[in-house]
């Protein structure tokens, strides 16, 4: 790589050449790949997957036409081959084709020390073999294991210098993996490694709320910008997978047309229904009818021939199907036809990355138009709020990129504030919020439905009564007169009273109008007789002085 001396005359920016890792997501973060012809240091503890990252860099590179070499100081080559085989990577085939070479670098157990030594054997083997292969990439795994053989930090630094010099002149895109000292002690070579690498990546597997979570961060990248965050990653049955959240919103599909909610009255309230490719959040206390509302939507979409994926964290598939059947929603035909697929797991069964990977594998497999998550509140059990946020954010992001409608159910814990109702951190990505709650009147507990937010659409802010029947749900207007809101039997009673009162008043008005009419007729007649008789003769006033008041007590009429 040339340095800036010549650039005084030509102020062109030299773009750093990169070697793509071909690992899903990682190249996005690295904005193309690892620095080509330079050294990358991958620092990670036991079980962080750094060896796998190195191996995958070589494997995918070899497939893409860049031969590579692996030197392992820790794991036996046979074990690496075995692990790779479980990921479906046929490394022996690549070795036979001279596109890959795995060098056993472990120090033999029968080794004794007598005097000073150097890593020249490694250099000779690596240089010779990489020349033979025409290698473009090299990975030196667990370098710290061999460095431990040296007695003094000075010797370690000397060896590192020699290795560094060789790597720089070799032109290989190199990855050195090192494990930081496990007992937290200061490592003599850690600083040196960090300064040696043009790119430094840290990986770790930490346990949060008893769930293992893996994170990757690009600490430094000379001459390049990168994603600066900590990125979660998973080791999938096909290799590593990293899901950067940084691209949120960039590739989202616009909201689509209105689709039915499965409840005609709710469609009216939402001015036509949910919007395709939007995110709808239904929040409410346990038992308020969130799952039933979701199942009506699922039923409606499946009837239209659209595929739905239902992600359940609370109940089994059979329990959910049975429960909604009691409200008259039959989902079995849709399961039989393949329109409805379930993915049920306990949140604590695995880390959020694995949950994410599982759901994405299902989404890729069945290409649903709609996804239901029941319930997002359970996601915190994947390893805390942060893990839940990661999972939901990435799922939502992936769905929005694919134009999939997402229905999130959110189980509230008690007296919820607005933030909890609207899904806390993810609220900015939620397009519609429906809030279901209870109203306690006398001995009765009734359900209410309210639309708190609808993006890109007109909606009615009113509160409705939400009634679960044997055949679905009904959404009714609540009694909202006289400064109070009544539902259930209180509403019915009040409505009845109101009806009677209205009838009574109507009757009264009618009576009064009749009285007025009569009075007017009388006055007309009086005026006529005055004209005829010059006002000398007076006729007696007809009729009684006051109209009869009839109260329609006890009378019932059907509206």
């Amino acid at each position: 790589m040339e340095h800036g001396n010549a650039s005084k005359q030509t102020p062109t920016v030299k773009v750093l050449a990169k070697a793509p890792t071909h690992i899903p997501g990682l190249d996005d973060i690295l904005e193309g790949g690892l620095p080509r012809g330079r050294t990358t240091v991958v620092n990670g503890g036991a079980g962080s997957g750094k060896t796998l990252l190195g191996l995958e860099f070589l494997y995918r590179g070899a497939l893409a036409g860049e031969p590579g070499m692996f030197v392992g100081f820790e794991e036996p080559v046979a074990q690496l081959l075995e692990n790779a085989a479980t990921l479906g990577w046929d490394l022996p085939a690549l070795e036979r084709e001279n596109r890959l070479f795995l060098l056993e670098g472990r120090i033999k157990p029968d080794t004794l020390m007598s005097g000073d030594f150097s890593l020249k054997g490694l250099l000779a083997a690596a240089a010779g073999k990489s020349r033979e292969l025409g290698a473009k990439r090299i990975v030196i795994d667990a370098l710290e294991v061999v460095l431990r053989l040296f007695d003094t930090p000075q010797q370690v630094r000397n060896e590192m210098h020699v290795l560094n010099d060789w790597l720089q002149t070799s032109g290989l895109s190199a990855v050195l993996t090192v494990r930081p000292p496990s007992r937290g002690g200061a490592s003599v070579y850690e600083d040196f490694f960090d300064s040696m690498g043009d790119c430094v990546i840290r990986m770790d597997a930490r346990v949060l709320d008893q769930v293992t979570t893996r994170r990757l961060r690009v600490v430094k990248y000379r001459g390049s910008t990168t994603g600066r965050n900590e990125y979660p990653y998973v080791i999938t049955p096909r290799g590593m997978h990293i899901a950067p959240i940084s691209t949120v919103g960039l590739r989202h599909k616009p909201l689509g047309e209105k689709i039915s909610t499965g409840v005609s009255r709710l469609d009216e309230i939402l001015d036509g229904g949910y919007r395709r490719a939007s995110c709808i959040l239904v929040a409410g206390l346990p038992g308020v009818g969130k799952t039933i509302l979701a199942s009506l939507f699922v039923d409606c979409m499946c009837r239209q021939g659209e595929t739905v994926l239902y992600i359940g964290f609370e109940e089994s598939e059979a329990a959910m199907v049975g429960n909604v059947l009691s409200a008259g929603v039959g989902l079995e035909p849709h399961i039989a036809s393949g329109r409805l697929a379930f993915l049920t797991n306990f949140p604590e069964a695995m880390g959020s990355e694995e949950h994410y990977f599982n759901v994405m594998a299902r989404i890729e497999a069945i290409s649903p138009r709609h996804v239901v998550v029941d319930a997002i509140s359970a996601c915190a059990r994947m390893g805390g709020q942060h893990a839940a946020f990661d999972y939901l954010m990435r799922l939502l992001n992936a769905c929005k990129e694919r134009g999939i409608t997402v229905l999130f159910l959110n189980q509230l814990s008690g007296s919820a504030d607005f933030m909890e109702i609207s899904g806390n951190d993810i609220s900015s990505l939620v397009d519609t919020v429906i809030f279901l709650r209870y109203q306690q009147i006398a001995e009765e507990s009734n359900r209410l439905l309210q639309v708190l937010k609808t993006r890109g659409s007109r909606h009615c802010n009113q509160t409705y009564e939400y009634v679960i029947c044997d055949d679905g749900v009904r959404i009714l207007d609540v009694y909202a007169g006289k400064g109070e809101m009544l539902t259930g039997s209180a509403r019915r009673q009040q409505e009845e009273l109101d009806t009677l009162e209205a009838q009574r008043m109507a009757f009264e008005i009618e009576t009064r109008e009749l009285d007025l009419k009569r009075l007017r007729l009388e006055q007309e007649q009086t005026a006529k007789s005055k004209k005829n008789h010059n006002g000398s003769t007076q006729r007696p006033q007809p009729g009684p002085g006051s109209p009869p008041r009839i109260l329609p007590k006890g009378r019932r009429s059907e509206p």
Binding site: R106, S114, G115, S118, G128
Partner: protein, 111 residues
């Protein structure tokens, strides 16, 4: 660059001294390698005259041998016979340790 010091006398083991087959990996003329080579040939002359074979391998000339014998650090002396096989790495400056590894006691094996 293979060099042999000492004469292989395969069929004629003098007394009970076993036959030693040694392979010394060096890296060109770097100081540790030079020292190891010198120390080894002197000790063999002193203790293993006529009953050892030393094969010298320069890793820069024959990297395949380094790969085949898993030699990442040099100098490295591999004792291929008598069994058990063992590896001694370093400039061999610790002669006592080297002799112990070879199973040679100062008194017992001196000719």
């Amino acid at each position: 660059m293979n060099a042999k010091t000492g004469k292989p006398e395969k069929e004629a083991p003098a007394r009970e001294t076993p036959f030693y087959r040694l392979r010394l990996f060096v890296a060109g003329d770097e100081p540790n390698s030079v020292q190891a080579r010198a120390t080894l040939s002197r000790l063999c002359d002193e203790h293993l005259k006529d009953c050892c074979e030393i094969q010298l391998v320069d890793v820069f000339e024959d990297y395949q041998a380094a790969i085949d014998h898993r030699v990442m650090v040099v100098p490295a002396l591999i004792v291929e016979a008598p069994p058990p096989a063992k590896t001694i790495v370093g400039s061999l400056s610790d002669e006592g340790r080297l002799l112990a590894a070879l199973g040679i006691t100062e008194k017992g094996e001196r000719s």
